[in-house]
Symmetry: C2
Subunit: 602 residues, 2 copies
């Protein structure tokens, strides 16, 4: 391609002209939307439209004479390729950091100059950090700059998908009861009103679901709740009249999506508003009149929805069994087909998704399937594309990380399967990762333990050999909701009090090991926090343990038996007994035979 | 005692009169001094003098009509006894918290009123927290209130002990080189000056030691360092003329202790001063003129001194061997004397201290010996007194936590010994704690791991059984300096970047288990961070492992063998082989025989 004709180069130039026209030194384009969601509606994929970089995370910063994309190691190969002719520089940042662009902006702007950003897509906490850092360098931050409106002629409209109800039996707690719980919490904290922007909180709170973005069954909305009722700001025509009536019966009024800001602006003097600084944008916060007291605290719904009820847990166990049965069907087909027909990483996605889609309660995938053979498996966020994918042939390891949304729960599972002949090095790596999965899965811990504090337990077997993995050990998981949903996180992040482990939370356990250019291993189950009945019967306080929810064989042919201790083999054998008993009634024929074979005791 | 005559009641009343006279609502009396030290010179033991409560930690707050001491569970029994006739209420707070008194003050004072505190003994970070919390309730904080000066007629003077030099070979790095390292650090951070108040930092930096407080070989001083020289503010007559001359030759001037504040006040406009907000008082910070830029950062010396050099490590290993030899001599005597002569917890302290005092390089104890038999061992900070101590007789467990200062290092060791016949319950508890000690001792981890993130590894064997301990797993240890000396800490505290594990750090590993009224167990070794040579040779980054420094048998008669895995028995046998080889040359006769017997393979 001729450099001059890159559409992204032209788009960046258009922004740079606008910067000059408005007297701005630079523009920050974060990858975020007014709801601070993980998956962005197309309308807010401005970073991608401007730069051409399609990674799921990454920040774009544009100065008058240069531009840069900031991305971590997961995206370097992809970003280098996609940014090639754009004239945009790639700044490689360490995983888990998000401050390099701030330094870049402070470097390109001079003291006295102004940097622009759209405050409507900037979290309150990030905005505070950005403003403080720039002001330290004498640079002003203007948060009212949405240049996308100027330069993006065919900018996509708001998604118009229908909102539907998450009903009984899968939604056991009525929305009125959930609203009452949230109300009790914010009133107790001294607030008269509570505003929610996060779409998973809203979906949970109102027992509603949607399909405005990929994978997460959510819809764009804000909500304002007071002591008596609630208003849901949602695209008109997205909620049918029957559902509207049902909502109204529960004290929930509907208002146009765009009126959320005006509703905040109309809050009466003397009101006190609870908002979550991590979960509300600066733009919305700035709409709040001066006479309103702000109470900054985590959304009550974020804590409430993280603790699944026993009624929900029963549906989740059923969804896990259906998901495991789909895995059996897929693997049974895969092992028979391998060597007979051409199978690629894309075929795997198709066949596995089809097996899941046949299961009762299936709604969709919970994230984009990662099927990575050998070197592709060494990229933790790899995604095969029609242009670039591997054929499954020869020898090595196949990593499949996949999951689905069911009406009764969200699944997320990673397994590694041997292809052809594998080596002692494969076996050793696999067994060490498995030891990490087992070590954490069987851990008991005091209720209230801050989740990051148990991260190391899964790493010990790898650390012992000088090995490690660059991602967290586990993320919280929603209930027919987001597959990444806190507040808990088993990782190296700095713990906060809201990350305390409580009964009913669901978290992944997924240690891994990645040898770039060679192979990747990750063994992932979802686990539920349940009360532990210990020999001490509570004399030392309440303890929790993990109930492993995920039901699917863990390959035993990749195991180097000599590296497992007897108690680890016991754990694995007991797990496989449960898997066999729970899945056998749900599969037949080849899939049943496969299940029997792959759950044999080691 | 007649309630009316309690001296503490009278002292509190005197303070309350002074409060009224000055128009204050309340006074806060923290347990701290101008250096924020762990051990307070008598002059700053005002909380103890006013209340009668002698615990090593605890806060006193006095309102016009009531007073309260805030202490955690370690001190409840003691505090209830000591406060009995004082009219002072005991507020029981959870271990590790230090904010309950703030709420108490906010409750007793009305909006518009003023609470007083002596800013000269209040850390900058604590002062900030206190002021913010009170201001939120509309209460003013006056930090210029030292009522002790008014009410304490015979208040002790400043300690006058002599300052001496820590010399070669035990102090391998000259003070000029240390000053250069610190100077390089603060200049690189943009500071022209650096002020240090913490006495361990000063002792390390200038290769000086003292005996102004118990156990920590330090002396009261502040230091101001600039690009060219340093001034040590220290009591006149404490430094001999010869040492003065040696200091001057290294660019260190002496100035009277009380002039530190004036020196800060005299800093030139345009200067920039690096201070550590955790390690400088509000009073000193307030002396800094407005024209001086403050750079708040951890004291460079705190990081530098935490990383012991290889030359220092050689001396530490020798000190550990001498300390272990003293333990052998003590235990050999103890086992022979038990049942033949009357042995109490106090006798143990005497005999053990005497054995240590005979060892080369011994300077003093590094903390007050904890010898706790049965129920006394269940109090982690127990101290036997002439009035209250146990006789070692009958059956049970004897816990001894002790340590010493040597010119070449600081020791801290806990062992538990069986007395008479012990039960299966004793053995089980002991073995579970030992498994925790072993699990963490053998852990490898990436260099830079935040120390609190590995705390759980020692707890896993206890957690599995629904057991836990209420203290941290390990504290940093100084080099012939404080036995509690960070910045690292293996505990449940929220990690900070300065707590990263680096080569050369020394930390304790001391899981425990306490059954109130029955027995306590703790097994403690000191360990050194050393580079780990892993099979991967650095492909996954640098790894560290622990070299166990402490050399002393771990009792094997208390072990329930069936609860130990083969790899744990291997670890213990290898440890005992090292202990035997290293200590045998240092002991003779009964002690040697005892060493041989107690290091037999399991």
């Amino acid at each position: 391609m001729d450099i001059r004709t890159s559409p992204f180069r032209l788009r960046i130039e258009k922004v740079q002209e606008a910067l000059k026209a408005r007297g701005l030194a630079a523009l920050l384009v974060p990858s975020s939307d007014p709801h601070l969601s993980e998956y962005l509606p197309e309308r807010w994929q401005g970073r991608q439209w401007l730069s051409g970089f399609t990674g799921s995370m990454g920040t774009l910063a544009i100065a008058r004479d240069r531009a840069a994309v900031f991305a971590d190691s997961r995206y370097w190969v992809q970003a280098e390729k996609e940014l090639r002719d754009s004239g945009i520089e790639l700044v490689k940042i360490p995983t888990g950091t998000a401050t390099h662009h701030v330094q870049w902006l402070a470097d390109v702007a001079k003291a006295g100059e102004t940097v622009g950003v759209d405050g409507d897509v900037l979290g309150l906490a990030s905005a505070h950090h950005l403003r403080t850092a720039l002001e330290r360098a004498g640079i002003r931050l203007d948060t009212s700059v949405d240049l996308l409106a100027d330069v993006w002629p065919d900018r996509p409209a708001l998604p118009a998908a229908t909102v539907y109800e998450h009903r009984e039996p899968q939604a056991p707690l009525p929305r009125a009861a959930k609203l009452a719980q949230v109300r009790e919490s914010f009133l107790r904290q001294g607030a008269t009103h509570h505003f929610v922007s996060t779409v998973d909180d809203i979906a949970w709170l109102f027992n509603l679901r949607g399909s405005d973005v990929s994978y997460n069954p959510v819809f764009l909305a804000h909500a304002l709740i007071d002591a008596h009722g609630a208003t849901l700001f949602v695209g008109e025509a997205k909620v049918g009249t029957e559902l509207q009536a049902r909502l109204e019966a529960d004290g929930v009024k509907l208002a146009p999506y765009a009126q959320a800001r005006a509703a905040l602006a109309a809050l009466p003097a003397g009101a006190s508003l609870l908002i979550d600084p991590r979960r509300v944008t600066l733009g919305l916060r700035q709409s709040v009149p001066a006479g309103v007291t702000l109470i900054e605290s985590i959304n009550p719904s974020t804590l409430l929805k993280s603790r699944k009820s026993e009624a929900e847990a029963r549906h989740i166990r059923e969804a896990m069994a259906q998901d495991g049965a789909a895995m059996c069907e897929f693997y049974a087909w895969f092992e028979q087909a391998l060597g007979r027909e051409r199978i690629t990483e894309l075929t795997i996605d198709e066949k596995l998704s089809a097996a899941r889609a046949r299961r009762p309660g299936f709604v969709g995938l919970s994230f984009s399937t990662i099927a990575g053979f050998n070197a592709n498996g060494a990229m933790p966020h790899y995604r095969a594309t029609p242009e670039s994918h591997a054929v499954i042939e020869g020898d090595g390891l196949l990593l499949i990380d996949s999951g689905a949304q069911y009406l009764g729960g969200t699944t997320d599972i990673t397994r590694v399967w041997p292809i052809g002949t594998i080596t002692a090095a494969h076996r050793r790596d696999y067994t060490l990762v498995l030891r990490g999965t087992i070590a954490l899965s069987r851990t008991r811990f005091p209720r209230g333990t801050l989740s990051p504090m148990i991260d190391a337990i899964a790493r010990v077997p790898l650390w012992e050999q000088g090995l490690d993995y660059g991602h967290g050990t586990g993320h919280g998981v929603g209930y027919f909701l987001n597959v990444h949903e806190g507040p808990q996180s088993i990782s190296k992040v700095i713990p906060e009090p809201t990350m305390a482990m409580e009964p009913g939370m669901i978290t992944s356990i997924e240690p891994g090991l990645y040898r770039p250019g060679q192979w990747g291993i990750r063994i992932e189950n979802l686990v539920l926090n349940v009360p532990a009945v210990t020999p001490e019967n509570g004399a030392f306080g309440e303890f929790l343990e993990f109930e492993t929810l995920t039901l699917c064989p863990i390959d035993t042919r990749c195991i180097e038996r000599g590296l497992l201790r007897a108690d680890e083999i016991d754990w694995l054998n007991r797990y496989h007994t449960v898997v066999r008993e729970r899945l056998a009634p749900l599969v037949t024929g080849d899939a049943l035979a496969w299940l029997e074979a792959r759950t044999q005791a080691l």
